[in-house]
């Protein structure tokens, strides 16, 4: 057991920390500047990361990354979180699209798509969930039908963040309805800049529209944009989903830590750390935060040493989302009316946290995964 960073990891961290100190992003545009200004700010930030070689350190050097180890990649996200910089504009391309193409893409696809992902010239979005296919993703209904050298796609997608800015969509569609639901799917790269794809903002409980709905009516996708082969979409989608939690988790974990530190500071300011009830609740949150950090690092380093990450990662996401909800709820009691006033940071955190136990795998599904795949409990048979 050695819970310290290696010399190489420390050097990596120090280099990045130094760069972030010397190259801070521009100040965040005011909330009333609108979504476009926010996005332009994030795009500019990605460009700076890219110019300095920090856009995707985990990518292999041949694709413009640094070939960073998984631990270094985790350090990267911890440091970005610690520096409170925005997420790069094309985070989905960097974290999901690029790595998926590296596994499943043809040489031509890698040549064509990877560089503009890294630079942020082309933004990517993810077209997986549908109104009737959330946790049961493989039940998705969007259909793709062969038409000459193209595929014609019709259907509806939901929870598509950044769709209005995107050039490419990682789209999973049904290409065969006569086989088992997991087998009839194909993974496409769909050009978002066509009239057949309509993007409608989806207003969430915070009042803003972080996500969109996609209405797709006979959109065209060339056959060359199939990723991983026709009928292989489920496997390719799993590669994308496996990457979803890996890096971002570390940034979110640091974000939680910072929020907790802010709440503890507020509690100290108001003398509430001497109140046994608040002291108990804050100590519990501190323990949860540390457990998340330890479990996340344990999962990652075990995977580095012993191969693929296990389904234990579900525990971390479950614990993180639950803890963030408890923390933002307790903050209301500590911070006071400001936390219930619309437009404040605290009220945003309170409301946004409700999505945490739903997005990226609901807590209910995560418990099923833990029960079935970690504990080996039998699966309740449900109608197919």
């Amino acid at each position: 057991m050695d819970l310290t960073f290696s010399d190489r990891e420390t050097a990596f961290r120090d280099e990045l920390r130094g760069w972030l100190t010397d190259n801070p992003p521009d100040p965040k545009p005011p909330a009333d500047a609108g979504d476009d200004a926010q996005f332009a700010w994030r795009r500019d930030w990605q460009r700076r990361l890219y110019d300095a070689g920090w856009a995707a350190p985990a990518w292999p050097t041949e694709y413009g990354g640094r070939g960073a180890s998984q631990s270094e990649s985790a350090i990267y996200f911890e440091e970005l979180g610690r520096a409170r910089v925005p997420f790069a504009a094309n985070t989905l391309g960097l974290l999901l699209g690029g790595p998926t193409l590296m596994v499943w893409g043809t040489p031509e696809q890698k040549e064509r798509y990877l560089a503009p992902i890294l630079s942020g010239e082309e933004i990517w979005c993810q077209g997986f969930s549908e109104p009737d296919a959330g946790s049961d993703l493989a039940a998705l209904k969007t259909r793709a039908v062969k038409d000459g050298d193209d595929w014609m796609v019709t259907g509806q997608k939901v929870w598509t963040s950044g769709a209005q800015y995107s050039k490419w969509c990682m789209l999973v569609a049904r290409t065969d309805s006569d086989v088992a639901k997991h087998k009839g799917l194909t993974y496409f790269l769909m050009d978002m800049k066509q009239d057949a794809v309509q993007v409608r903002p989806l207003r969430q409980i915070t009042g803003e529209a972080e996500f969109n709905e996609l209405f797709i009516e006979e959109a065209r996708i060339p056959d060359a944009n199939v990723v991983g082969g026709v009928g292989n979409g489920w496997k390719v989608a799993l590669t994308t989903l496996m990457n979803e939690r890996a890096g971002l988790g570390f940034a979110l974990q640091i974000r939680l830590r910072q929020l907790l530190d802010d709440v503890i500071a507020k509690a100290a300011e108001r003398g509430l750390l001497e109140d046994p009830l608040y002291a108990d609740a804050l100590a519990e949150l501190h323990m949860r935060c540390e457990s998340i950090r330890l479990l996340a690092w344990k999962g990652l380093t075990d995977a580095e040493r012993y191969g693929q990450p296990g389904p234990e990662g579900s525990l971390v996401k479950w614990l993180w989302s639950d803890t963030n909800q408890r923390l933002t709820q307790l903050a209301v009691d500590i911070v006071g009316p400001e936390a219930l006033t619309a437009g404040t940071g605290w009220s945003y955190e309170l409301l946004r946290a409700r999505g945490n136990t739903i997005e990226g795998g609901t807590t209910e599904v995560l418990k099923n995964i833990v029960a079935e795949r970690v504990l080996g409990l039998p699966r309740l048979k449900v109608a197919a």
């Binding site: 050695d2 819970l3 100290a268 519990e284 040493r305 614990l319 079935e372 309740l380």
Partner: protein
């Protein structure tokens, strides 16, 4: 970073698990528990293997290994509930080694490390310590006080009255002394207690692990309405929660054991987190185990209650979850004060 054990540590874990699976079978544990006595044969065997001295320095007759190795043995013994005086004796040795004088170490540690004598550790309020595990047979009793002081006593310097705790796998006693009896521990009692907390937390992790294993095996087997009850989400999600609690406790306990061996700058914080987390986990996981076993879980024959009982005693030993969260909050408040001053 590496959360794994070294080859040597894995070997200690593997041999301990195999040995205890063989020598501390549930029926043997039950037999001794019902008779209210320790398993002297098994204890002799463990002493021959050098277990009691695993973390005691070589100069005092121990193996000179660290908190991580001690933690591994405590966890395995927690899993098996073997009725041996290992933990009480190890706790006494830990306090003497880390807070005692050279003379106290020389006097007591060789015997504790070799297993010729056993020890016990209690928390005294005005000279009286309740439910001190291992005290009825201890040749040396360490009492720590709320004010941070500690004393080493022989049984002759105290009144030791056996008490039947709900956990008969570990005989306990009421220990009363006059306030000036015994010898003071002159060193850093708090650091000794933090190391002792790691050992207790490790035992609780082992108890949780076993409770979860028994429960998972049971709910896969037990059928109602024609399906294994473990297929119902009300049951399977309870099991998932048990795993989460166990893994949280394991993570903070591992961190505390590592801190004790490698970086004591955060040991007080880590030990408080470990004990608070493991105490809660021990109570919740073993209670869940009884519930998931249904009616059978409430019977004497189903061995799951021994785990619940051990968890109850361990959860309050050296302070419960609320006590250690209060400590943790004080540490956090100090950190806020320190960063404000900086």
């Amino acid at each position: 970073m590496d959360f794994g054990f070294t080859d040597d540590q894995r070997e200690i874990q593997r041999t301990a698990r195999e040995l205890l699976a063989e020598r501390a079978r549930p029926e043997r544990v039950r037999e001794h528990a019902e008779a209210g006595r320790v398993d002297a044969t098994l204890w002799r065997e463990l002493c021959e293997l050098g277990w009691p001295g695993i973390a005691v320095a070589e100069e005092h007759g121990g193996q000179g290994l660290g908190s991580i190795e001690l933690s591994i043995l405590c966890e395995e013994l927690g899993r098996s509930l073997a009725p041996v005086p290992f933990l009480p004796s190890a706790l006494a040795a830990t306090l003497i080694e880390h807070a005692g004088s050279p003379e106290q170490c020389a006097r007591w540690l060789p015997g504790l490390a070799g297993g010729e004598i056993t020890g016990a550790l209690g928390v005294a309020v005005e000279g009286t310590a309740q439910l001190v595990g291992g005290a009825p047979d201890a040749a040396v009793i360490v009492l720590v006080e709320d004010d941070g002081g500690g004393r080493v006593l022989t049984p002759e310097q105290a009144e030791v009255t056996p008490v039947a705790a709900i956990d008969p796998t570990r005989p306990a006693a009421l220990v009363s002394t006059s306030e000036d009896a015994g010898e003071a521990l002159a060193g850093d009692v708090a650091a000794g207690i933090d190391r002792a907390l790691v050992a207790v937390s490790s035992e609780l992790v082992g108890v949780c692990e076993r409770a979860l294993e028994m429960t998972v095996a049971y709910v896969k087997e037990r059928k109602q309405f024609g399906v294994p009850v473990g297929a119902y989400q009300a049951v399977s999600h309870r099991c998932a929660q048990m795993l989460l609690e166990t893994e949280k406790a394991r993570a903070t306990t591992g961190f505390a054991a590592w801190s004790a061996d490698a970086d004591t700058s955060r040991l007080a914080e880590a030990a408080a987190m470990a004990k608070a987390g493991a105490s809660d986990a021990g109570r919740e996981v073993t209670a869940s185990a009884i519930q998931a076993h249904g009616g059978i879980g409430f019977t004497w024959e189903a061995d799951v209650h021994w785990l619940f009982k051990r968890a109850q005693l361990d959860a309050v030993l050296l302070g419960g979850a609320k006590h250690h969260r209060a400590r943790l909050a004080a540490i956090l408040a100090d950190q806020v004060g320190a960063s404000a001053a900086a």
